[in-house]
Symmetry: D2
């Protein structure tokens, strides 16, 4: 493993924020990486307290992201990369600011709001030759990587059908007929101005889109969709039928009103030689059915996992790894990539096995196409 | 329980036939019913041998169904009802013949090939005031009936999303690129002339359509679909998005090329107050999630099942009932209905809790709409 | 399949009785077998009504089993075999009476109360050369038979550990401290005078003992046990450690106070080359782990099941068979055996694949040893 | 949450060691804790490299633990606590050395080899008023803590039966008849001189003993056991029946030759008012059956988890936490306890919710009793 130290700064991630803490824990699992600066929130006191809790130098806790980008870029020991974990509507401006100062980026999804913004970020990152990771976390699970290798190796043959979904139930209360239970806009995910044109599709539907692409290599050429708003400003439930570049179809479903579903991301990939099934709730296991043979339950960490990605296991088989480790795998890839670049080495394909800015842009196009199809009576919309 | 004896005749169901034997076992579980006549196959020797194996009088084993309908109608002890378990393309003519002779009908699905035929059978059955059951078997499971009552009682509230599927893998070999592996037409299910305009949608997609309707009472107003033929004359895989009369959408998927799926009929019904999930592979159990509460696994036979249908349990909880009993429940309802009519009583709603000829007609309209939508670029097609 | 007709009579099995109905349904699934006589209960009216419901000749519905044995033996068309489904304390006398009249026997377990009685029945059956089946039902499941063949073929190697259990919860109410909730003796299973020296061990513990023996061929040489009565006359929960004739140990647990368990019979057999796991709640599936390889879920009915017993499947894979069919498999073996004997043929090993009177006797010895060990401070007791 | 910084040193845990890395990751998830010193291995070069990888000062990487204890105790900024992750036979001496220098201890299990050693460590820790945690990791899972609260609150009533097990299969190869496959003593866990008098019972059986005690508060008063060595110097499989101080029995099984089991720690606790079931492979879920009601699947993170321990969740429901977080929960409790003591506060019960040295001693007594019972023909052995 490439040794050395990479320093990260955070925009977002105050002590009370969920996803910011996850990013920090993921970074903490790798002794080669460290958070040394941040602009955690616009609430000054909480910002200061977060920095103190993390043991940061007070002068590296910034009031605004623009100042942070400028000053960190100017320091000889400035951060190598910034992690952006703020609400969706701010990703674009923050990412752009750090890129312009030559700082690598790790950004939460959705990357941004419009296809134009996305393309601008892609172009900027490539022009500046900067690393830009988008945290589609689930691709960080070891067994996701194992499935990707199995499919690439032809284990399930030509893909003929996909059925994938991401179901939650945390917005069920919004369906109440009680007017006092109307959509609580203090939750920014439900506010179109902050979350973007799509709620459910943007927040979790994009995870389906990316994960299926990551696993199979298939690209969606067109799609059609229905969305259900049930009187709310944003979609709560959506069904999509997609067509891939190999001619097969996939059915995607995302919902935030499906009682009993927590973070139910499930993918089932069917090929003419077999199938693979995986569920985020039990991420260490994959159900693999070779054509004509019994279904096998593959477990991360077992000796029969001969795919290269199996070596990323951090715990023995039967000891659950969980989401933090999936996240940490993404960060470790970024860290290794940055260390190799610093050392003048060329990162290899395994180092670069994290979601790129182009994947983030693809997600923005996907959301845009779903919104358009649903608005126009479920017509086919190209996503090219 | 209504006592007495009802006699059945069979068209189809030679010893080597799968579904015919299932019908016979279902009938055999009820001491009130008996098979006494048949036209089991057009192969004379096998026809005779089947009758003999069943201990039938030789003069009630017929060479053709028309003769059987005529003679049985003429006998003082003629059959009360006929069971039709022949290939799809013959259902219409056989059902019509027996109806015309005043004999009640139990018919396999799909009911027939065209909407016009279906409407004709509906009209004939109603004009003659005859019982006409269509064996959408899965509605015979006790827990399906329990779910139906729970939904009717408002246990999951207003339905906001449905996700249902029926996946198999027995046609995977047809995907081979090997020309010698081309579609084996000796299997009649794959021959459009015998099976109808749709294979996968007709054979198993219709089970989804009926079961969701049975459970929820929702009616599909329109649908759109993609079907995948992969070079074969009939569809092997299909995705459908449906719209119900309450405005919600459902996603249906059926496939006969999904490796690792056997008879994977699964329904998930989401309401604004909770959800229900059920899978045919484990038919005695239902997963019920009341909003905001843990998921409960309801088991057939347990004391907490207070719905009336729970009383249909034939075995204690934890002793699996299986498909034959689901089938038998449908037959027992038909038998009770016939006994009550004979006794001059009016069958109640519970007696009539079996799929009616109108349900069969609805299935034919569903298949027709799917075929049309897929052929016209996945446009919405009304099913009214 | 051997054709012909075998007639059965029943002792026990009035309309209101659970297990008697199961026997009748199991018989009904085979067109070669028929119930033609009975002494269903000592309540004369219910006895008569049961015969009528079943369509029996009134003169073949008997007031007592002794008369039934005598008269049926005297008739030219007398029953071939009797099914005994009465409370435990009556099995011995009834079985003996029919054997003495030369009538074959199918008897519920436990076979009888004492080792001496058991040995007498074994000797009598063998002396008279009569068929004597004991309905350890679970050995009738197709996948149990498949596991037996797999183990015999060495698929899991030398057996090194067994963990098996049968857990229920229907006696939980008996644990109440409320004196008014004291043991309801109207339920005969809880009355030592009727059920025998052991309740839980006798009723369900014996199923563990037989099933493990059936699957593995291993014989218990000695065992030790604890039983828990919690103030009741009979055991409600028991733990056993057994030693087999190959030197390995097994852990058995049976309970009728384990909340959430219905008829939770589970066996896990570990060999030095792999393992097998099976659960009665999902009887169509077996979990098979070859050493060093992923766990496979084997499904009844799939093409990869190459064991001979796989051919007993009555339904396609994915269509659950359930308990009635397991029971029917036992009856069909008995029926075939009787038909072959009538035809002067020698039944083969597959025909005789049903629990024999010696197996029933082995169960009586097992119960006796458990009771003795528990009474004497959990010492080892030989079961030879 | 108590803020401040606690520093840890490690004995054991070179880069190549499994469990040492787990400890380090667990520490890293809490920004309040830091590893600052170590004696990672006796291989000088690996020791140095580990320190460097972790970014430690070179003068705090020690050649031997005795020197480390002495020097760290002498430094004004010396470590607050030591983590001992070395092979079993060294725990006693190392723990004793650090205790004598007034340094708190976190030690892997088994605590030591003999009951006398264990009692000495207990006495020393108490005499010196030092914190001494033993890493029975599984008690760190949030849902284990939730179950503990549920049981304490009477949710399942009086406990009447326990069935618990820890099954693995990694020693299956040792069963080979091939003499060249004889027990590989380079694996220290298989060497009695290093691992202690029991392998399977000591390494994983003790996890059963502690977890059941932790969850239920029940203490084992006596036990009996069989162990299976299959020609090897240490036990590979063991069955135990225990008796608790409330009169109930429990069945424990541990095995390292059970094909298909990875780290299969499963506990099932049955009370007269309900039951709880939990499995380490899916640690975020608990199956809870209130008497007479459906089984509920409780998920960590859901709003209906009202037990205090639920608040320890670090991730939303449906995002798996995994073993590292369980470990981190134990370390965070230790860290909070140490911070409060430093601040002159009294740690409360929740702070002290980690396995204590007395629990470690209890484990040593358990192993000793199992070994004794098995050696003396499975007699009852008191564990008082």
């Amino acid at each position: 493993m490439m040794t050395g130290r990479i320093t990260y700064g955070m925009v977002g991630g105050a002590l009370s924020a969920f996803i910011g803490q996850v990013h920090r824990k993921a970074i903490a699992l790798d002794p080669r990486a460290q958070v040394v600066a941040g602009c955690f929130t616009q609430r000054a006191e909480a910002n200061r307290a977060t920095g103190e809790f993390l043991g940061l130098d007070a002068d590296r806790v910034y009031d605004d992201f623009a100042t942070m980008a400028e000053r960190e870029a100017a320091r000889p020991d400035g951060i190598d990369a910034v992690c952006i974990t703020t609400p969706n509507n701010t990703h674009y401006a923050i990412a752009k600011a750090f890129l312009e100062h030559g700082i690598h980026v790790v950004c939460e999804k959705p990357l941004c709001f419009t296809v134009a913004q996305a393309e601008e970020l892609v172009a900027l990152a490539r022009a500046k030759d900067l690393v830009f990771a988008v945290t589609y976390t689930y691709a960080g699970y070891v067994m996701a990587k194992v499935m990707k290798e199995m499919i690439a190796a032809g284990k399930i043959g030509r893909i003929v059908a996909v059925n994938a979904e991401y179901a939650q139930d945390w917005l069920l209360d919004d369906l109440s007929d009680d007017p006092s239970a109307s959509l609580d806009l203090s939750v920014w995910r439900k506010d179109p101005a902050i979350a973007g044109a799509a709620n459910c599709v943007g927040d979790i539907g994009t995870h389906i889109e990316y994960l299926v692409h990551y696993l199979t290599g298939l690209t969606i050429t067109r799609l059609l969709a229905t969305t259900n708003h049930y009187g709310k400003p944003l979609d709560l439930n959506a069904n999509m039928i997609v067509e891939y570049d190999n001619g097969a179809n996939g059915a995607y479903w995302c919902s935030q009103i499906a009682a009993g579903n927590l973070n139910g991301l499930r993918v089932r990939i069917y090929g003419d030689q077999g199938s693979l099934e995986w569920e985020q709730h039990y991420p260490d296991y994959v159900r693999y059915t070779p054509k004509g043979a019994p279904t096998q339950t593959l477990s991360r960490g077992c000796g029969y996992i001969t795919e290269k990605a199996g070596a990323l296991s951090q715990l023995p088989a039967g000891h659950p790894e969980g989401l933090i480790i999936a996240f940490a795998n993404i960060y470790s890839s970024v860290t290794t990539t940055l260390l190799k670049r610093r050392a003048g080495e060329v990162p290899d394909q395994a180092d670069l096995d994290f979601p790129q800015v182009e994947d983030g842009a693809s997600g923005v196009r996907f959301v845009s196409a779903v919104v358009q199809s649903a608005a126009q009576g479920s017509i086919w919309v190209a996503t090219g």
